[in-house]
Subunit: 343 residues, 2 copies
C-alpha cells in the first residue's frame, strides 16, 4: 500500500443556498480494511454531478442525505488493491459509488468491473456511465423524439445535455442546445446540434423562439428557472418533458415571488396535453446493458462525442463542485484523485 492513511472529504455542515468550501472538511483516517466479500479500492476518478447538491440537503428526496460528518457520496472509478471477494482481484478496474475519498473498503457486489477497452476508464463516469445513461433513458423512454420533431436541452455542453442532443440527432430530430457562453455554444454546434443559444446573451426567449420555428416537442429538463420560462410558451401540443434535474433551483432558499403560475402550468398541461415525468436513471436500471451496448457502438462509430473537464486532486473537489453549479465546468467534470492503474 502506497500510503498508510486515507484522505476523505466529509460534509461539515449543510449548505444554505450556494455551498461554500467550508461546508466540507478534509479528514485523514486510518486506511480501511476490507472484510469478507469486500475489496479495498483506490480511487482514480471521482465524478462530480449536480445531483450531489441534493445529498447535502435534508429536504425530502429520493435518497436520504449524507449525514453531517459523513463522507460525501459520489461515483468513482478505481483500482482494486486487495480483494476478499470472488470475481475481483488486485489490479482490476472497478466503477462504484465510493465517494469523495482516496480509498474505500466496499462490498464487491456494489462494484462493476471495467474491461480495459479502447476507451479511457473515466468514460465509465460520463458518456458510458450515469450521465450518459440518464440522457439515453430519459430521452428515449419519456421524450420519445420522432424524426422531424424539435428537442431542446439546456446545459448542452455537459455530459447529459450533449448526449441528449446527439441521440436526438441520431433519431432524426432537430436538436437545439442552450449553454453559457460562446465557446460552449460553438462546441455544442460542433457536436451536430442544429443550433445552440447562449443563455448569457440577451433575449433568451426570443432567440429560442427563432431557433424553434416549429415549436418544441421534447424538452429535456435539467435546469429549470429562466430556461424553463423561455421553453414553456413554445411547447407544442403533446410535448413530452422528461424532468431530470433543476440545477438552477438547487441553491434556492426562498420561494419565488408571485404571481403563482401553477394554475397556468396546469392549464397548459390540459389544453396542450403535455406529459411531464420525473425520473432518475436507476428507474431504468434494467436498460443498463442495452445502453452500454448502443452507446459504445455510437462512440466507436464517431456518432457520439464527449468532453471531459479534469480537476487534479481530491482537495479541489469542493471548489470544482461549487463552480459546476455556476456553470464553470466545460464537459463532464472529473476529479483525478490518484494515478492511473498500471496497464
Amino acid at each position: 500500500m502506497s500510503q498508510a492513511q486515507n484522505q476523505r472529504l466529509v460534509l461539515a455542515r449543510r449548505p444554505v443556498g450556494e455551498p461554500q468550501e467550508t461546508d466540507f472538511r478534509m479528514e485523514h483516517a486510518d486506511m480501511p480494511v476490507p472484510g469478507p466479500g469486500q475489496v479495498l479500492v483506490r480511487t482514480i476518478w471521482l465524478s462530480l454531478d449536480p445531483y450531489m447538491r441534493g445529498r447535502m440537503s435534508d429536504a425530502p428526496s429520493y435518497v436520504p442525505p449524507v449525514a453531517i460528518g459523513g463522507v460525501m457520496s459520489g461515483g468513482t472509478v478505481g483500482e482494486v488493491m486487495e480483494s476478499n471477494a470472488d470475481g475481483l482481484r488486485r489490479g482490476d478496474l472497478v466503477e462504484g459509488g465510493n465517494g469523495w475519498q482516496g480509498y474505500a473498503a466496499v462490498d464487491a457486489a456494489g462494484l462493476r468491473r471495467l474491461e480495459r477497452g479502447s476507451l479511457p476508464p473515466s468514460t465509465a463516469l460520463g458518456v458510458l456511465g450515469m450521465p450518459g445513461m440518464t440522457a439515453y433513458c430519459g430521452l428515449l423512454n419519456i421524450g420519445q423524439p420522432k424524426a422531424g420533431e424539435t428537442v431542446v436541452v439546456a446545459a448542452a455542453s455537459g455530459p447529459v445535455g450533449s448526449m441528449v442532443g446527439q441521440i436526438a440527432k441520431l433519431r432524426g430530430a432537430r436538436a437545439i442546445g442552450i449553454a453559457g457562453g460562446a465557446e460552449k455554444c460553438a462546441y455544442v454546434r460542433s457536436l451536430g446540434f442544429d443550433d445552440c443559444i447562449d443563455h448569457r446573451g440577451s433575449d433568451l426567449p426570443g432567440q429560442l423562439k427563432q431557433a424553434c420555428p416549429k415549436g418544441i416537442d421534447v424538452y429535456f429538463e435539467n435546469v429549470g428557472g429562466l430556461v424553463w420560462d423561455a421553453v414553456f410558451p413554445l411547447l407544442n401540443p403533446f410535448a413530452r418533458i422528461p424532468v431530470c434535474g433543476l440545477i438552477s433551483q438547487y441553491n434556492q432558499t426562498a420561494p419565488s415571488s408571485g404571481p403563482d403560475r401553477t394554475a397556468g402550468l396546469m392549464r397548459a398541461i390540459l389544453t396542450k396535453r403535455l406529459t411531464f415525468r420525473g425520473f432518475i436513471v436507476w428507474d431504468f436500471a434494467s436498460q443498463q446493458a442495452e445502453f452500454q451496448r448502443e452507446a459504445s457502438a455510437w462512440i466507436a462509430a464517431g456518432q457520439i462525442k464527449y468532453r471531459e473537464d479534469v480537476v487534479e486532486g481530491l482537495e479541489r473537489a469542493p471548489a470544482a463542485f461549487i463552480g459546476m453549479l455556476q456553470g464553470k465546468n466545460f464537459g463532464k467534470l472529473l476529479v483525478r484523485v490518484g494515478p492511473d492503474a498500471a496497464a
Copy 2:
C-alpha cells in the same frame, strides 16, 4: 315536421369570469334543410359539460372557440326526421354534436346511430358516452391503478368522477372521492368508494390525509384549485396524474397571488418521479369500441351505477350550465330539449 321554426342558443358575448345568462341569446331561425349526405335531427337530449366553458373563451385551447353569434356546441342525442344519407333513416336515434338547438341538419358521417337497447338513450351522453369514456381512458391509460393503490378523484358524484372511482374499485384499488355536500358524499359512498370527503366541510387537507393513510398513487385531476392543494403533499413516489379538467379555474380572470409555486411543483415531479399528462377523450378515439363493450357489461352486471340530473327545456340550458360550474348539479347534467322518439 312539428314546428316551422328552429330554436337555438347562441353565444351573445364571451363571459368574463362566471358566465351570465345574458352571455347567451335564444334565437328563432328557419328550420334547417338537410343537403346531400345529410340528415335533419330533432334534439331530444343536450349534454352540458364543463369543457364548454373553454369553448366560450378565446384563450388558446385544443379546439377553436364558438364564434360570437354562433350556436353553442354540445353533445346531443336526437331523432332523425329526414334523411338524405345511406345508413340512417327517419326514426333512427343518433348521438352527435348538434349543439344547443332544437334541430340541426348535419352530415350523417358525424353521427353515431344508437341501438335501441336496454339502457335509455341519454346514457350515450353520460356513462356510455363522452364522460364515461373520459374516465375510462384517462384512468386506465394514464392513471394505471394497481390493486391496493389509492385513487383520488374530485367531482366524484359527477359522470366522470363517479366512473373513475368505480373503475378504480373494479381494478382492486382504493377509491377516495371528493364532493360538495353530505348528500353527494353519501351517494358517492353508495357507489362503493371507500370514502368521500366533503370539500365544503372544514379542513379538506386533514380529512383527505386521514382518508389516504398510504398516500395517493393516482389523482384524476378535474378540478384544480384547493383540491389540488390538498392532494399535492399526499402524492406518493411514482404517482400518476391524468389531467382531464380544471373546473375551479375556468372562471378565473386573474393570476393567483404569490409566492410562485411552480418551482416546488417541478421539484416534486423530479424527486417523487411524478407523471402528469393532460388529455382529452378523443386522444383515445381508437378505444371507443372497447370502452363501449366493457362499460356496457359493467352496467349490465350492476358493477357500475350512474345518475342523471335532468333539466327540462332548452331555454334552461344557460342557467343549468352556470349552476354546474358552481357544483349545483347532482349527476350527469342533461337538458331535455324535446320528447322521446316513438318506440
